[in-house]
Amino acid sequence: MSELLVQMDNVSKSYGPVDALGGVNLKVYRGEVVGLLGDNGAGKSTLIKVLSGAVKATGGTISIKGKTVEMNSTTDAIDHGIETIYQDSALVTQLSIARNLFLGREPIKGSKFLGRLDEDKMAAVASELLKEVGISKDIPPTTPISALSGGERQAVAIARAMHFESDLIILDEPTNNLGVAETQGVLQFVRNAKASGHSCIFIAHNIHHVFQVVDRIVVMRRGAIVADDIDPKTTTVEAVERIITGMDS
């Protein structure tokens, strides 16, 4: 087995009286694509929010490459190599593709004090990355995000995660509201990310999408992980559906 990247131990999260997560254990290895399934309110988003620093766990520990870490903010998570991609919220729609890619990590030309953006470098890297994630159309990197389709926006977010050498890319329902072609595009980006050595956690309600890209399926029910080693190559969609709804027992 390859290197253990992320390990969550007995992680819990409660919102007041609601226990959204009740002591969850999860491991993700390098280069692995994990599908996270579960019904509405099962706790999938809460789990990845804890992992991406968006909410703080009430209990438990998170280790990355064997070291226990504190996740107090999304910047902490990014610093530890964890990138999260939501449908819309991660990009500034008024800014261009290139400026979004480098937001917060802008390359500077000349004196640090003047802080002049190195726009040539940003444009060059952006064009290269757009090709890498497989955007076939010729979209100039100066295009504002507001002029992109949903799938292209996902592609930009994935490109950013790949460029900044994140080890783990988390996608929470990235295929919601996408058409057939765009969904295939996002799935292809996930394969490309895996091919270049990144791990992914992929959440989607459409089990067929999950089956197409993941190496392993984890199922959550009412804040707990009820199955964590389902191989999509040897299991049927129906069997997984039964585990999700709790009809297996």
């Binding site: 999260t84 953006l117 726009e119």
Partner: protein, 326 residues
């Protein structure tokens, strides 16, 4: 039409630029004196004082906040400076620095309330508007401070001295305006700081998630806004030979109108200094031109209001067109 709308949405200053040219053509054809040298130099003198505030407001509004206390700071800062200079024996330079430092402090307080206590900037700066105006009235008992004894001081020449070029009289304040406009344009469009300003106004959560220091960025802009409003007030007090505790009343709305007419989004995320400079001229030319072509000055606000509504309608139409493509 498709091409024009695309141009207008990529370059939000094009709409106001067309309007400005139209205004000049209309006013000049009705009264040819409109473009006379004397009229231009008179117009320029006040324009830059309000304009300095509008430049800072452009950056602040791009970051998604705005500042209603600028008119009060325009009144308060020179009052403090001249009260210190007239009432004690500290030199004018020091009085100037003290007054600007107080303006900076007020900007910090505004920024702290908005970012740390998370109170909307509308409410915070409305409160500060009253505090600053009240302070100016209280320390002067409502009377103007004399400033004519400034004539011998190098600082007053440095800030507002005038240069006569033929019949055209230019004030130093025009130079300050151009300098600040160029610096802020560069900052907003070309630098990391500018990228952070736009991102803070466009999607603060996404920006924060990437490590952009949204709160620090906004606090800096509140400070810039207060400091430039105070600086503009000092310039005005020397030019008009009086520091009146009531001066600048109502400027906040005129300044916001200049910025919005220029194409900066009221909700943040998009802003342009070029547009604001055009917006400044549109409002000043309107005020001046309406009188020169014989429309009663009291009708001025009708036209300004109509232009603001028209510009907002244009930009919201452009935004909706863009969204539907997404």
């Amino acid at each position: 039409m498709g091409k024009l709308s695309k141009l207008l949405s990529v370059r939000p200053e094009v709409g106001p630029a067309i309007l400005l040219v139209l205004l000049i053509v209309v006013f000049t054809s009705i009264n040819p004196k409109f473009l006379s040298i004397l009229n231009i130099s008179n117009t320029l003198a006040f324009t830059v004082e309000l304009g300095l505030i509008a430049l800072a407001m452009t950056l602040l509004m791009t970051s998604g906040e705005f500042d209603l206390s600028v008119g009060s700071l325009f009144g308060l800062t020179p009052v403090i400076m001249w009260a210190l200079f007239n009432g004690t024996d500290i030199p004018l330079e020091l009085a100037f620095l003290c007054a600007i430092a107080i303006a900076v402090f007020i900007g910090l307080v505004n920024g702290w309330f908005v970012t740390y206590l998370k109170i909307p900037s509308f409410l915070v700066t409305l409160g500060m508007l009253l505090v600053a105006r009240g302070t100016a009235l209280y320390i002067t008992d409502g009377f103007p401070q004399r400033t004519w004894n400034a004539s011998g001081e190098w600082l007053s020449g440095f800030l507002v001295g005038d240069i006569q070029i033929g019949a055209l009289r230019l004030y130093m304040s025009l130079f300050w305006f151009i300098l600040v406009a160029v610096l802020l344009h560069y900052t907003l469009q070309k630098t990391k700081m500018g990228n952070w300003i736009q991102a803070s106004g466009g999607n603060a959560d996404a920006a924060r998630a990437r490590g952009v220091r949204v709160d620090a960025t906004k606090i800096k802009l509140f400070v810039l806004s207060s400091a430039l409003a105070g600086f503009a007030g000092v310039i005005s007090s020397i030019r008009t030979s009086a520091a009146n505790p009531n001066s600048g009343t109502g400027y906040e709305l005129e300044v916001i109108a200049m910025v919005v007419i220029g194409g900066t989004a009221l909700m943040g995320g998009r802003g342009t200094i070029v547009g604001t400079v055009i917006g400044i001229f549109i409002l000043r030319l309107m005020r001046n031109g309406i009188v020169m072509i014989g429309v009663p000055g009291l009708a001025y606000n009708i036209f300004i209001g109509a232009i603001i509504l028209g510009m907002m309608a244009l930009h919201s139409w452009l935004d909706r067109r863009n969204q539907s493509r997404g």
